[in-house]
């Protein structure tokens, strides 16, 4: 549904082709509206849709009947009901989730992200703001700038919105009084200066009556600025700024229909691209030139920021999904440690040190977040000390990725934000939920500044003296699966062959090194991290290390694997079905867990993530402990 403005109707009747030609040249502006239901936000959007004829008669009929049932405007039409789409929202009269609305003017098409105002929906607001060029902040003329106005301004600015409209609504309820409007502007000006919002305009409106929404209202002769729609029609777009920046094109997909064609498909994040352009492929840094920009309807001479294209390169360079094609003379950096602002979006809080999937551009890596440097109080903008981040919390923390990623700082003074290579999401590896989003500030130089002490006796020397190849045999499996039993037998067999070994057992370590740790998820992660570090030191000393820990989470096992040299980490999955382990219940722990006396017990009320590709897989229902130990030794010795 998309209907023309009144003024267009005549042209459509007369010459629809001419009208369509005009439509084709329209630009697109995406904006967000923030404010609570009390500020009349949904009413204002409803008004924009209504006045630009975006509402059909059958919808109007439904709206009238809904208004009588759930409306808050008595017998009048409640425009808010047009916008609140979920039944829970209509019943409770609140906006829960972001809704996208569409309308157009003579110059532009608009996509409005209508976002909820309450603090508990901060994540939804951030979501809506992430794709917007502009924010319309609603304030009630009777109430003025409130805490939530400041919070919304801050959040919108945080995700890179540079242009703001302060829509002072419900002017009809203050008798269209200029003094009331001026006071609110002065108040907001002070705040905008404080947080660095440079581009903003204030417009006095009445969503209910339509004053200054589409056109300037006679009710406020003292106001000489544009109406809301006039402003939305003329405000500059971020797209122009994006095109003026150096070329960045994240490679999304390699197009290889046959031996003769190898194209790189992606959406141009910034700059322009065309045949002959000198480009650098990152992170490899290889230089080459663009050969062609290929489309179904012919080759392009130039493609610009925002377009999804397929390019071919002059040389056979290595380039795959996640790589970035960039301007040769002005490429982005690659790094693996960063400072970032993080917005936490999940009920389960951040676990510092835990590995999360991080998606940035077309790059997928594992990232660990450190304990936050501070959390930001979104109402007062104060910095608070924080151990972690909970739902809707915003904080600044350091992040380490398991390999280098190509990135750009998200926010850059004076130009559009680098959304494609500066914005990221974090995904829980267990539930696959999107738990956070973030904006990169800069790369940390720590890895360059803090050099490790050089050791004269190298790890190779240690290994050579012992006449063996170091390894970490990492036994994982349920409690009672037989990890310790098998590990013990393996160590005996290796010792018998004159190998230098050491067995790190879960229970023993918890009596000493990890005495301070409990069984919460965070403590279990730290437990494994410490054991991993110790195992690495021992492997550096040339030993064959055996560890027996439940280590239920793939992310942590992966973390330890990454600490070791290539091929040194040997994951041994001691595979005993839960029912079997519980039947054995050597330590009586399952009985306790079933009785509710032990919390977070793996297999009962805490998950076990089985390895997907362990180096050695032992099915204890098929092999005795001794046979299993033989298998491990045999595989270890066969390793080259």
């Amino acid at each position: 549904m998309s209907r023309p403005l009144q003024s267009d109707e005549e042209l459509i009747r007369r010459d629809v082709r001419a009208w369509l030609a005009e439509q084709e040249a329209k630009e697109l502006l995406r904006f967000i509206t923030c404010g609570s239901v009390d500020d009349g936000k949904s009413t204002l959007i409803g008004r924009l849709l209504y006045e630009s004829k975006q509402i059909f008669d059958d919808q109007l009929e439904a709206l009238e009947s809904d208004s009588k049932r759930h409306g808050t405007q008595g017998q009048r039409i409640d425009f808010a009901l047009l916008v609140d789409g979920l039944s829970a929202e209509r019943e409770q009269g609140i906006t829960i989730d972001v809704a996208y609305r569409f309308f157009s003017s003579a110059r532009r098409k608009f996509i409005v992200a209508d976002t909820p105002g309450h603090e508990q929906y901060t994540r939804n607001m951030v979501t809506g703001a992430s794709t917007a060029d502009l924010a319309v902040l609603l304030v009630d003329a009777r109430k003025g700038v409130l805490t939530q106005t400041r919070r919304h301004s801050y959040l919108a600015q945080l995700v890179g919105i540079r242009r703001f409209v302060l829509a002072v609504n419900k002017m009809d309820l203050v008798d269209y009084d200029q003094a009331a409007f001026d006071a609110i502007c002065a108040d907001y000006r002070a705040f905008a200066e404080k947080i660095g919002i440079a581009e903003w305009v204030a417009i006095p409106v009445s969503g209910l009556n339509g004053d200054n929404v589409m056109s300037r209202s006679d009710a406020m002769a003292w106001y000489s600025g544009p109406s809301l729609l006039e402003h939305l029609d003329t405000v500059p777009l971020d797209a122009a700024a994006d095109a003026a920046k150096p070329l960045r094109m994240p490679v999304q997909w390699v197009n290889r229909p046959n031996q003769n064609f190898r194209g790189f498909a992606g959406q141009i994040a910034s700059g322009t691209i065309g045949p002959g352009a000198e480009v650098r492929i990152l992170p490899s840094g290889r230089l080459t030139r663009v050969d062609k920009v290929v489309t179904m309807t012919g080759e392009l001479e130039q493609a610009v920021a925002g377009e999804s294209v397929t390019v071919t390169l002059a040389d056979e360079v290595d380039c795959s999904r996640g790589d970035v094609i960039a301007a040769a003379g002005d490429p982005p950096e690659a790094a693996d440690q960063f400072e970032a602002t993080i917005v936490w979006m999940a009920d389960e809080e951040l676990l510092p040190g835990r590995g999360y999937w991080m998606k940035i551009g077309a790059q997928n890596v594992t990232a660990m977040v450190q304990q936050p440097k501070f959390e930001i109080n979104v109402n007062t903008l104060e910095h608070l000390a924080a151990q972690t981040l909970g739902l809707n919390a915003i904080g600044v923390a350091e992040i380490a990725t398991d390999r280098e990623i190509v990135f750009e700082p998200y926010a850059v003074e004076g130009t559009s934000p680098n959304k494609a290579l500066g914005g990221f999401i974090l995904i829980d590896k267990l539930t696959n939920a999107t738990v956070a989003c973030g904006m990169l500030h800069f790369a940390l130089r720590r890895s360059l500044n803090v050099h490790r002490q050089h050791l004269d006796v190298s790890r190779e020397t240690h290994a050579t003296i012992k006449g063996q190849k170091p390894a970490v045999l990492w036994f994982t499996g349920l409690s009672g699966a037989g990890k310790s039993t098998i590990a013990n037998l393996v160590e005996k067999k290796l010792a018998a062959r004159g190998r230098h070994t050491f067995l790190l057992d879960g229970d023993n370590v918890r009596h000493g090194l990890n005495r301070d740790l409990g069984f919460t998820e965070a403590d279990r992660i730290e437990n494994i991290r410490r054991v991993g570090e110790v195992a690495r030191l021992m492997a550096d000393a040339g030993l064959i290390v055996l560890t027996a820990f439940i280590s239920p989470f793939r992310a942590e096992r992966h973390m330890v694997r990454r600490m070791m040299a290539e091929g040194e980490f040997v994951e041994v999955f001691v595979d005993t079905p839960l029912a079997e382990a519980e039947k054995r219940d050597v330590k009586g722990l399952y009985a306790k867990a079933r009785a509710g006396e032990l919390k977070n017990f793996t297999g009962i009320d805490s998950p076990y993530e089985a390895p997907e590709s362990a180096e050695i897989h032992i099915d204890t229902t098929q092999l005795s402990a001794d046979e299993a130990a033989d298998l491990v030794v045999e595989r270890l010795m066969a390793r080259r």
């Binding site: 267009d8 109707e9 989730d97 999304q252 959406q267 999804s308 999401i425 696959n432 999107t434």
Partner: protein
């Protein structure tokens, strides 16, 4: 420097979504309903992966009650060697002879909702493209581009994944799936403008022509084949077209003179009823009916 129009931007976004799905999903499929939105989505997919053939099959969940013209276009599309088409019919609905005349809402439920779930499970598709748009209906306005479904294909509007920038989370556990809507941000007018600009072939039923019809329950129904049951009515030739296409006994026509895309656009812009109004399916269950159907697994 060229500046992009709103259609350029919508096209680029849709192509990005199509490619992202293909790059990250294990086994994607495109729901092909033969309507104008499907036609646009298919055209975008051809552009996204050119010069490669489509890297996924098309799936038509057939109810056996579509218009004959729709089957004709479907078969023409499938004749392209670069396109693989799967036609799925719910065997239970087929054996029970479920039809729109005798079975009311069960017809849609069994052929479409159940048929779709069965097809996705049978072939193990983990991501399915659909042509739905956010401007069509209120609950769709709140749905993500990548809409996560649990093992039972259910949609939980309260547990949607946040969707930021153009970063889509395509991860899911085994058995779970994702419905992907590349046209989320398109409006009906955008679709028509794009059809015009790109010269995309659509089913002739969208254009006005003399067709045999009867008026029933406020809808103008077309008698497309001999299975149509007359309730003592007589067929009347009317110049009609269809704004949306589904099962022919459930699709209401509008009287119209519009025989070209331009004329359709003009009529659409000057008309006073919304696109879904001709669909019986949205009405049963009140204003929340689409939200409810979606939770149950309807596309």
């Amino acid at each position: 420097m060229r500046s992009l129009t709103h259609l350029d931007r919508l096209e680029a976004e849709s192509i990005h979504i199509l490619r992202e799905t293909v790059a990250e999903a294990d086994k994607p499929v495109m729901l092909y309903s033969i309507g104008k939105d499907s036609a646009v989505m298919l055209h975008l997919a051809k552009k996204a992966f050119f010069p490669s053939p489509l890297p996924f099959p098309l799936l038509h969940v057939d109810t056996t009650w579509k218009f004959r013209d729709m089957y004709a276009l479907r078969d023409k599309v499938a004749a392209d060697p670069a396109i693989q088409l799967i036609v799925y019919k719910n065997p239970e609905a087929e054996s029970k002879g479920i039809n729109p005349f005798d079975h009311g809402p069960i017809h849609t439920d069994m052929w479409k909702t159940e048929g779709l779930k069965q097809a996705l499970d049978t072939y193990g598709f983990d991501a399915a493209f659909g042509g739905a748009r956010r401007d069509e209906e209120k609950s769709r306005a709140k749905e993500r581009v990548f809409s996560f479904r649990d093992r039972n294909h259910r949609w939980d509007p309260k547990r949607q994944r946040p969707e930021l920038w153009s970063l889509y989370n395509v991860r899911k556990a085994k058995g779970e799936s994702i419905r992907v809507f590349p046209l989320s941000n398109w409006t009906e007018l955008d679709v028509w403008q794009y059809i015009l600009k790109e010269k995309i072939e659509i089913v002739p039923l969208y254009f006005a022509a003399e067709r045999p019809t009867v008026e029933r329950d406020g809808l103008l129904l077309m008698i497309d084949d001999e299975r149509f049951r007359m309730n003592g009515e007589t067929a009347v030739m009317r110049k009609v077209r269809f704004r949306t296409l589904g099962c022919y006994p459930l699709s209401g026509a509008v009287e119209s003179e519009a025989a070209t895309v331009e004329e359709i656009v003009a009529e659409m812009l000057l008309t006073k009823t919304s696109e879904r109004q001709g669909r019986a399916i949205d009405r049963d269950g009140g204003s929340a009916s689409m939200e409810k159907k979606k939770q149950e697994g309807y596309f």
